[in-house]
């Protein structure tokens, strides 16, 4: 018995190391991107763009970037501890040497719970834009929407131990984390009602993005309701590690994030690539995906309550689980079909290449719809003057076709392109490759790690000591391509 325990104490092979190193490097990229978004939003808003006039998508990006900044470092530390244990023989999680595995659970979930808000808040932002655009009405309760987004971001850090109810932290800790978790239902509920009231009395146009948005409300709410069920610590002892939890988080992630991604891709496709996806094929994707999604995951609630455990990819015959799993499989194929139709849609649209104008949906409210599709690399020739929430809509309502410029036409300062970010990450790739095989006394791994880190640090040094002042697009050149749009 002892021998079995020892051999199964840690995962064999390189799989875990691959995930540790991969997450570490991509986590670094996420952190730096988060800082970049924060600084851009705080320092570089156009004249008149006050915080309370920012689009909800920008607000949710802002809050998400703050979450990234504070949530990723605990993951970094957790991964470092595991990496040290596996590669350099430290004892953080080795109980025989005084280690403690609960540290991993805490560090992972202090990251893990904010991470689910890092996923969902941008989707909330996208849906907020879509509801306002296709209800042709200002977003209901804009300021309460901002408040709710910030509050969700804040509370997101207070609830991590609801993933650890069965760890044995005790009734007081469980009660506090249960109540804190349920409190998040309040700001989320505010958002749901605001979206419904945005549609109320609007002249609603059921385009494909709007269909996703409308379907998102009941789908996501179902995931929210099972979330409250999971948050009840005593009930969670039943749900824990069962398919009920799998059903819950797929309802919020697929019913929220994935629907948000599909909606956002369809909504912003013309802005990104200058062509409009087919609405007809889009509707096929929408309906097959929605039906497939509910078919796949609804039944899993019951599979979980019937006792099917999570994290097991097979189950025994004659346990009464076969039919439910068959239904799930059928649903998964429907979703796959939906995505294939979407890919066909994209290929056909790109092949036809029918270019569209600035505001292809006809009801654009925010600044991006005031510039050409796709936008020129400098975005606005002249910074636009923002005179209210939904600035482009404000101008349209006054009978204007374009934004009022906030500055005279002048040279635009742009950053230079640089190969260095690529070499910095290439060095990390080389170092991680060496670290991945740094076990069983191999001699070639250490030099590889050192060479990789040298590439990274030397690239950083060059980035620091080489002056890079960027370049200017000259006023005269901007005036030349007037035909390319450039309505400021």
């Amino acid at each position: 018995m002892d021998i079995i325990c020892i051999t199964f104490l840690h995962s064999e092979g390189h799989g875990i190391d691959f995930y540790v190193l991969g997450l570490q490097i991509s986590g670094l990229g996420t952190l730096i991107a988060g800082i970049n978004f924060l600084v851009t939003i705080i320092n570089m808003r156009t004249p008149g763009m006050t915080y309370m006039r920012m689009p909800l998508f920008t607000w949710s990006t802002f809050v998400v970037s703050a979450l990234i900044l504070f949530a990723f470092p605990p993951l970094t530390v957790g991964l470092v501890l595991m990496m040290f244990d596996r590669m350099f023989g430290s004892n953080f999680f080795d109980v025989a040497a005084g280690g403690n595995t609960i540290i991993w659970e805490h560090l992972f979930w202090i990251f893990g719970h904010p991470e689910v808000y890092i996923l969902i808040l941008p989707a909330f932002g996208i849906f907020s834009e879509i509801f306002a655009t296709f209800s042709r009405k200002r977003l209901f309760g804009y300021s309460s929407m901002v408040f709710a987004t910030v509050l969700i971001g804040f509370l997101g850090f207070m609830v991590w131990a609801h993933h650890m109810f069965t760890t044995g932290l005790g009734p007081i800790a469980n009660a506090i984390f249960a109540v804190a978790t349920m409190a998040i239902a309040v700001p989320t509920g505010i958002k749901i009602f605001n979206w419904i009231f945005t549609m109320w009395g609007g002249s609603v146009k059921f385009t494909v993005p709007m269909l996703y948005a409308v379907a998102f409300i009941p789908s996501f709410t179902m995931g929210g309701v099972t979330g409250i069920m999971n948050a009840s610590a005593p009930a969670d002892y039943q749900f824990h590690d069962s398919y009920f939890v799998v059903a819950h988080f797929h309802y919020v992630i697929v019913g929220g994030v994935v629907l948000g991604l599909l909606a956002g891709i369809t909504f912003y496709w013309p802005k990104m690539f200058g062509t409009m996806l087919s609405e007809k094929l889009g509707k096929v994707t929408f309906w097959t995906f929605l039906i497939g999604f509910h078919l796949t995951f609804f039944i899993q609630h019951f599979l979980g309550l019937m006792g099917m455990p999570r994290r097991v990819f097979t189950f025994l015959d004659n346990q009464g689980l076969n039919t439910g799993n068959m239904i799930s499989t059928v649903g998964a194929f429907l979703m796959a079909f939906a995505v294939i139709v979407m890919v066909i849609n994209i290929i056909m649209t790109s092949a036809k290449n029918e270019k569209v104008g600035n505001d292809p949906w006809g009801d654009g409210r925010t600044l991006e719809w005031a510039i050409p599709s796709p936008p020129p690399f400098y975005n606005f020739k002249q910074l636009p003057l923002v005179r209210g929430l939904d600035p482009y809509w404000v101008e349209k309502m006054e009978g204007k076709k374009e934004m009022t410029p906030a500055e005279p036409l002048g040279d635009i300062h742009m950053p230079n392109s640089s190969i260095l970010p690529l070499t910095i990450s290439f060095g990390l790739f080389v170092a991680a490759f060496g670290a991945l095989y740094n076990m069983d006394d191999k001699t070639w791994t250490l030099p590889i790690i050192i060479v990789g880190l040298l590439i990274t640090f030397v690239s950083m040094l060059i980035r620091s000591v080489k002056d890079d002042h960027g370049f200017h697009i000259h006023k005269e050149d901007l005036m030349d391509d007037k035909d390319k749009g450039g309505k400021a």
């Binding site: 470092p73 970094t76 280690g99 202090i110 002056d467």
Partner: protein, 209 residues
Amino acid sequence: MQADERFTDATWPASPEKATLEGKNKYLGFWLFLGGETVLFASLFATYLALKDKVPNGDAALAKDLFELPLTFVATMLLLTSSLTSVYAMYHMKNNHFKQMQAWLVITVALGFAFLGLEIYEFNHYVHEFHHTFTSSAFGSAFYTLVGFHGAHVAFGLVWIISLMVRNARRGLNLYNAPKFYVASLYWHFIDVVWVFIFTVVYLMGMVG
């Protein structure tokens, strides 16, 4: 305002680190980065406190056996003083006194190296006198990870400040490199603040029990 323009004492702005948009962005971005670093060190401190004195058997050295006040007190004084000298350097940066700034940065770096030397001596001492190593116990792993992460930050900061000094030695200050010096000094202060916590949580609390 051109970033590489030459300035006289009269035209040099009061806050040269924030005089350009580029500088403002660096300044804010770096403050935010330090926010993330704070959480990183908080996680390491939490791990250390959870694993303090957690050893496999009764022979292993505990915190109260290891730490000695004189050594860590000297190390603390070295690092605190280096923070003060970096403030003097930034004072001269804001007054466009490049030579004085470089001089104070040289002192800062020298104090940093002295600190790092003491730390290496200290680790060596624990390993050879007490057999307290990275792999000997969970306590050892947590101690060397927390204090070592800080030491690695000090080493990175030294390389950073030296490369800035060497790079700009012949051209003096302008609005392009002033934010770079300022941000490096922010980092240096941050390292110092972390050390104050390490001195308190690891060494002082380790010695009293």
